[in-house]
C-alpha cells in the first residue's frame, strides 16, 4: 500500500450504490451497478453514449427512483428520498446541458442553491423579522463570495443567467451547486464545449475544490485527458452495466473497456472466461 493510492477499505465511504437497476418500460438503462465513492476522492464515470451514466446521476440525486437496488449516503439509505432532501443531505450536481434559471441573475441563481440551508418560511418571508433580514444578507454575501471563488467577474453578478458567456454559465452552475454546502459534488460533463486550456483549468479547479472545501467529486467525463489527469478511480459503464473499475491506468488497459469504446475486433477469438 502506497501513500498515493490508499486502499479503499481504509477510507470512509460517502456514497455507494448496491445493485442499482433502472428500467424504463422494457429498456434497462442501468443494470445491477454497485460502486463506491470514497470520501474526498475524485472519481470519474465514463462510458460510451447511452451507457447509463446520466441515468445513474439522476438516481443518485433522486430525480429517478431505482427499479431495484439501494443507494446509501454515509449511513443513510436515500434510495427513495426526494431530490430536495438529498440536496439538503449534501449532494449537489451540475447538468450536462447547463440548466440555469434564465430569468434570474447569476447571483440569484447561486442564492437558489442555498435554499436548503435557509429557514425563512411563508410567515418569515412576509413579516421579515430581523433574523430573516440577516439570513437574506448572509445568503447574498455568500453567493457573491462563491461566484468570486469560481471566477465569475463581479460585473456579471447582476446579469441574466441566459446572457452570460458559456464559460461563465458553467462556472455559475458550479457555484450554485456549491451554495448548498455539499459533501458530494456530481459534475455531468463539466468540460463539454471547453478548449484544452479551459479543461486543464477546470481540472486544477476540481482538485482545489476537493482540497479546500473537503469535497468528494464524481464526474461524468468524455475527455480522456481530464479523466486520466484528475481521477483517482474510474468506473466504466457500458449498456447500463459496470464493465470495469479501478485506477485510471488499469482501466485504460482493460480489454473490455477498449472493446466498449472501439468495438470488438472480429478477428479476436471469443473470450474464454
Amino acid at each position: 500500500m502506497t501513500v498515493d493510492a490508499p486502499a479503499l477499505t481504509s477510507e470512509r465511504l460517502v456514497l455507494r450504490t448496491e445493485h442499482v437497476t433502472k428500467e424504463f418500460g422494457g429498456l434497462v438503462a442501468v443494470s445491477d451497478v454497485s460502486f463506491e465513492l470514497p470520501s474526498r476522492s475524485i472519481v470519474s464515470l465514463i462510458g460510451p453514449n447511452g451507457a447509463g451514466k446520466t441515468t445513474l446521476f439522476n438516481m443518485l440525486t433522486g430525480l429517478y427512483k431505482p427499479t431495484s437496488g439501494r443507494i446509501v449516503l454515509g449511513e443513510r439509505n436515500i434510495t427513495r428520498a426526494r431530490p430536495d432532501v438529498i440536496t439538503s443531505l449534501g449532494v449537489a450536481r451540475t447538468f450536462q446541458n447547463i440548466r440555469l434559471f434564465g430569468a434570474m441573475s447569476a447571483l440569484e441563481n447561486v442564492m437558489i442553491g442555498r435554499h436548503s440551508r435557509m429557514r425563512a418560511g411563508l410567515f418569515g418571508s412576509i413579516v421579515r423579522p430581523p433574523w430573516v433580514r440577516r439570513e437574506e444578507r448572509e445568503v447574498r454575501d455568500r453567493a457573491a463570495e462563491l461566484l468570486d471563488y469560481v471566477g465569475v467577474r463581479q460585473s456579471q453578478f447582476g446579469q441574466g443567467a441566459a446572457q452570460l458567456s458559456y464559460g461563465d454559465q458553467r462556472r455559475v452552475e458550479i457555484a450554485r451547486a456549491l451554495a448548498s454546502e455539499p459533501t458530494v459534488l456530481l459534475l455531468d460533463e463539466p468540460t463539454a464545449g471547453m478548449n484544452p486550456q479551459e479543461s486543464q483549468a477546470l481540472t486544477d479547479f476540481m482538485r482545489k475544490l476537493r482540497d479546500e472545501l473537503t469535497l468528494t467529486i464524481l464526474l461524468i467525463e468524455h475527455d480522456m485527458k481530464v479523466v486520466m489527469g484528475v481521477s483517482e478511480r474510474v468506473t466504466v459503464l457500458d449498456h447500463g452495466e459496470k464493465i470495469a473499475e479501478g485506477p485510471p491506468a488499469e482501466v485504460r488497459a482493460s480489454p473490455r473497456v477498449i472493446e466498449a469504446y472501439l468495438g470488438k475486433d472480429p478477428t479476436d477469438p471469443p473470450p474464454t472466461t
Partner: protein, 412 residues
C-alpha cells in the same frame, strides 16, 4: 435600408419602423430616468411611494359619495386583489390556473354564509351591529369573514393544487379549469344540496341577498349610499395584499417559485421541495381571490350563482397578461386598466357611440370583442406586458433551452 428595396415601403415596414423608433425612445427615456435617479436624494423613492399612497387615500374626497367613477374604482381595486393573487400562481410559480373564479365564488359564499340570514336555524352573532345583531342566521364581523374566507380558500387552493402536481403547463390549465367549473356548477345546483332541515348549500341563481354591511367597532356600519368607506376598505386591503406580494417576491419563497417556473428539474435538484412550494403558491393565490370575493359579495349585497362564470377566470388572467406575467406592478396596472375599461369606459363613456353613427346597438355588447382586440394588440406590440417583470426582462434578451423538463418523477 430602403435603398435595395424596390417600390414603396410596405405598410408592415412602417409598423416595424415605428416599433424600432418606440424602442429607441424607451432606451433614451430609460437612460434619462436613470440619470435623474442618480441626482435625486436617497429618500426620494420612499417619499414618492408615501405621496402616492396618501393620494390614493384622499382620492374619493374629490368625488361624490355615489359617483359612478368611484364605484368603478372600488370594483377595479377588488380586481387588483384578484390579479395579485392569480399573479402569484401563474406569474411567479408558472402554474397556469384557469379556474380562479372558484375562489371568487368561495369567498363570496363565505360572505353570504357568515353574513346573512341564509342559515335560518342559527343564531350566531359576533361583533356585528344594527339589524345583523338581532336577525336569524350567522352574522360574523366582516374582518372575521375575511379571515375565514382566506383560510377556507387557501385550503381549497391546496386541494386543487394536489392533482396538478404531476402535471405541467396545459394539463394544469385543464385540471384547474375543471375545478372552476365544478365550483360554479356547485353554486348553481347548491339548491339541491340539502344540509338537513330544509337548509341548502346555496340559493342558486335566486341568490342569497341582503348580506350584512361591513361593520367596524368604533367606525360604524357601512351604507351603500356612501361609497367612500367601501373605497377605503378595499384600498387598505389592496395595500396589504401588495405589501405581502412585494415581500414574497424578494424572499426565499419567491425565488423558489420563479426557479420552479424556469426549470423544475434544476429547481428540485437545488433543494427546493416541489410539492410544498407549489402548494404554497396555490394557497396564497386562492386566499387573495377569496378575500376579494368577500369584499365584492358584501359590496353587491347579494351572492348569485350567475356571477361565477368561466369568463371571469379569463378576465383576471387577461389582466395579468396585459400587465406583464410575474410583475406585481403589471398586475396592478393590468387589473386597473381592464376593469376601468369594463366598468367605466365602455358602459359610462363610450357606450352610446354606435348610436351617434346611426347604429342600433350599445358598445357593452361588444366588450369581449374589445378585450380580445386589446389582448392581441398587447401580444403583438409588447408581449412581455405593459410593466414587465425584471426577471423576465433579463430573460427575453436571451433564451435558454430547458429541454427534457419531464424528468422528475414526483413520488409523494
Amino acid at each position: 435600408m430602403s435603398e435595395e428595396m424596390p417600390g414603396p415601403p410596405e405598410p408592415a415596414d412602417k409598423i416595424g419602423e415605428l416599433i424600432v423608433r418606440a424602442r429607441r425612445l424607451t432606451t433614451t427615456l430609460r437612460g434619462r430616468r436613470d440619470a435623474i435617479r442618480k441626482r435625486l436624494p436617497r429618500r426620494t423613492g420612499s417619499v414618492f411611494v408615501a405621496v402616492l399612497i396618501a393620494a390614493g387615500f384622499v382620492l374619493p374626497l374629490f368625488f361624490s359619495q355615489t359617483s359612478g367613477f368611484l364605484e368603478a374604482t372600488l370594483i377595479s381595486l377588488a380586481y387588483v386583489v384578484m390579479a395579485l393573487g392569480l399573479n402569484v400562481v401563474v406569474g411567479f410559480a408558472g402554474l397556469l390556473d384557469l379556474g380562479y373564479v372558484a375562489f371568487y365564488a368561495i369567498g363570496a359564499y363565505c360572505m353570504a354564509w357568515f353574513g346573512s340570514d341564509f342559515f335560518f336555524k342559527e343564531h350566531i352573532h359576533v361583533l356585528v351591529s344594527g339589524i345583523a345583531a338581532h336577525e336569524i342566521g350567522i352574522h360574523l364581523n366582516f374582518v372575521l369573514i375575511l379571515i375565514a374566507a382566506a383560510i377556507i380558500c387557501s385550503l381549497m387552493g391546496m386541494l386543487i393544487g394536489l392533482p396538478t402536481l404531476r402535471l405541467r403547463g396545459d394539463y394544469i390549465a385543464i385540471v384547474t379549469l375543471a375545478f372552476g367549473e365544478i365550483i360554479t356548477v356547485l353554486a348553481v345546483n347548491g339548491t339541491s344540496i340539502g344540509l338537513g332541515g330544509g337548509q341548502t348549500l346555496t340559493n342558486g341563481a335566486q341568490g342569497i341577498s341582503a348580506l350584512d354591511e361591513p361593520y367596524f367597532p368604533g367606525i360604524g356600519s357601512f351604507n351603500l349610499l356612501k361609497l367612500r368607506p367601501y373605497y377605503w376598505l378595499i384600498y387598505v386591503i389592496v395595500l396589504l395584499v401588495l405589501f405581502v406580494n412585494l415581500r414574497l417576491r424578494d424572499s426565499r419563497l419567491g425565488r423558489a417559485w420563479v426557479a420552479l417556473r424556469e426549470d423544475e428539474v434544476a429547481a428540485v435538484s437545488m433543494g427546493i421541495p416541489l410539492v410544498r412550494t407549489k402548494l404554497k403558491a396555490y394557497s396564497i393565490g386562492a386566499a387573495f381571490g377569496g378575500i376579494s370575493g368577500v369584499f365584492l359579495g358584501a359590496y353587491y349585497t347579494d351572492v348569485n350563482s350567475d356571477y361565477f362564470q368561466f369568463t371571469f377566470s379569463i378576465f383576471v388572467l387577461a389582466m395579468i397578461i396585459v400587465g406583464g406575467l410575474g410583475s406585481i406592478w403589471g398586475a396592478v396596472v393590468g387589473a386597473l386598466l381592464l376593469s376601468y375599461i369594463n366598468y367605466y369606459l365602455i358602459p359610462d363613456v363610450i357606450n352610446s357611440i354606435p348610436h351617434d353613427f346611426g347604429l342600433n346597438f350599445n358598445l357593452t355588447t361588444l366588450s369581449y370583442g374589445i378585450f380580445g382586440f386589446l389582448l392581441v394588440l398587447v401580444m403583438v406590440l409588447r408581449p412581455q406586458g405593459l410593466v414587465p417583470e425584471r426577471r423576465r426582462r433579463l430573460e427575453l434578451t436571451g433564451a435558454i433551452a430547458a429541454e427534457d423538463s419531464q424528468l422528475v418523477e414526483v413520488q409523494e
